[in-house]
Amino acid sequence: MKKNKTNRALILPTIGPATFVLLLFFLLPLGAILFFSFMTRGDFGAVIYSFTLDNYIRILQPSFYMPFFRSMGYTIATVLISLIITYPLAYWLAFYGGRMRMVWLFLFIIPFWTSHLVRIYAWMFILRDSGLINLTLGRLGLITEPLNMLFTPGAVVLGLVYSYFTFMLLALFSSLDRMDKSVQEAAVDLGASPFQRLLKVTLPMTKGGIIAGSVLVAVPTLGDYIVPDLLGGARVSMIGNVVADAFLRFANWPFGSALGLVLGAIVLIIILAYMKFAGRESLEREII
């Protein structure tokens, strides 16, 4: 009984500081943009405190819902390309990596922990008209005019894949690594071709990893700002850029808040759907 009492007294000192920070610098700010999203815009970035639904209605204009659809399209492409590139990689690491497989994995994910900004800048360096790719192709005599790669949808999707495939790699690797290899051997013994084995055994058994990886790639891709900003330019802007522009360029904070909340709601729906499917524990495990 006494022990229980001392425990109770220690709950607040342990979880208190973190809860306070989350409340003050995460939840309250979200509440603030919810409040401002229903306010009216004044002149020169001012906000008039009268209730309106105009900011949400305005999103239904093509110039604002198009970036949403574009972001979703790019996100689907990014997830699929990451999956196709990463699956063989994760498979190789999990099955043939040997004792060094953690070192290999580490080498593949280190760049992810360096600066996202610098990594995307590095792609600008490579993709621009006088960049490494155009230079090499020109020297080889394969092209006479530089290929226009920067500021295209292709460059944006490339940058997005480069930015977030790590999440897919980690999710796939852990599910392939945990997989019971004897089932694969059984499939071979029973006469399955390598292709059949992949389709009927390996893929279904790693379904959890595929879904986890897809969600973890989709979520940051959908709201990305740096990649479309640096590699995309104005014509291929994504929703993250439109939100930022509403705040920084047009100083229309109520409208920017509404746009941001719609983006946040989409992300939340994806996350909740995933938690319903796989449980919160799984999400916590996959995130770190």
Partner: protein, 267 residues
């Protein structure tokens, strides 16, 4: 068949490796290139690094980032570890809500965190943007990372040691200092290794809560890219940032390996 399969596989892995490292290697190599327009290799130079050393704006931004990251790591490691302990040890109302809320900053798009914090600081709290707003934002997105990494470590720790210490008469503080923290050290170090580059390199959230005079390095790099486009000076700065981040993570990983080896040898 098998040999062909292995050959194809090796080629594929090689390309994947190239895809991941080539962009970074390119800016590293060309940061030592003499030509300003950096199209061809024109000879080795350290000129661009000297230029960085003379650039007071960049040096100041570096200083700001070091200050921000130091405070962020200290505060978020302390708060995050305490929270992990509370979540792991105690039953309380709202625990599930707290765990769920801790996930949110990790999945919420940075732009949303950026605009919400900007609006909160400037319109609700009506305080000037600066160190406080940047560090508060960084602490908010770093705590969940620390908490989950330390929580994962807590599942692999022998908690009878804590009881033993208490039974032998150690008070709470001594138990924390002498038993709990040493047991959690691998988890805490791992979270520090991730929080340092995360905080130091964060651009999007920081961009929104940066005030005049407290520009951190990523925001400085961004404005350099916007102003100059591709330049060897940015290559040099990018090289320092990338190599620095990698060295920190490597150091902690190798340190963890050595600790592990030592612990195994001790047994």
């Amino acid at each position: 068949m098998s040999k062909l399969f292995k050959g194809v596989n090796a080629t594929f892995i090689g390309f994947a490796f190239l895809f991941i490292w080539l962009p970074l290697l390119a800016i590293i190599v060309f940061s030592f290139n003499e030509g300003r327009y950096a199209i061809y290799w024109q000879g080795f130079t350290l000129h661009w690094y000297y230029e960085l050393l003379r650039d007071t704006l960049t040096l100041n931004a570096f200083r700001v980032s070091v200050i921000v990251t130091s405070f962020t790591v200290l505060i978020s490691t302390a708060f995050g570890t305490l929270a992990a302990y509370g979540i792991y040890k105690y039953k309380f109302w709202g625990k599930e809500i707290l765990r769920g809320t801790l996930i949110l900053p990790l999945v919420m798009p940075c732009v949303i965190m950026g605009i919400s914090l900007l609006l909160f600081f400037s319109r609700v709290l009506q305080m000037p943007l600066g160190y406080v707003s940047i560090i508060a934002a960084h602490v908010a997105f770093s705590i969940p990372l620390v908490t989950f990494i330390v929580l994962a470590r807590m599942q692999r720790v022998d908690w009878t040691l804590e009881e033993a210490a208490m039974d032998l008469g150690a008070n709470r503080l001594t138990t924390w200092r002498r038993v709990i923290i040493p047991m959690l050290t691998p988890g805490i170090l791992a979270s520090v290794a991730l929080t340092i580059p995360w905080s130091f390199n964060d651009f999007v959230i920081t961009f929104f809560v940066t005030g005049v005079g407290t520009t951190p390095l990523p925001v400085r790099i961004y404005s350099m890219i916007r102003l100059q486009g591709i330049s060897p000076v940015i290559n040099a700065l990018g090289t320092i940032v990338v190599v620095g981040s990698i060295l920190i993570i490597l150091a902690v990983q190798i340190g963890a390996l050595i600790r592990q080896k030592r612990a195994e040898a001790a047994e």
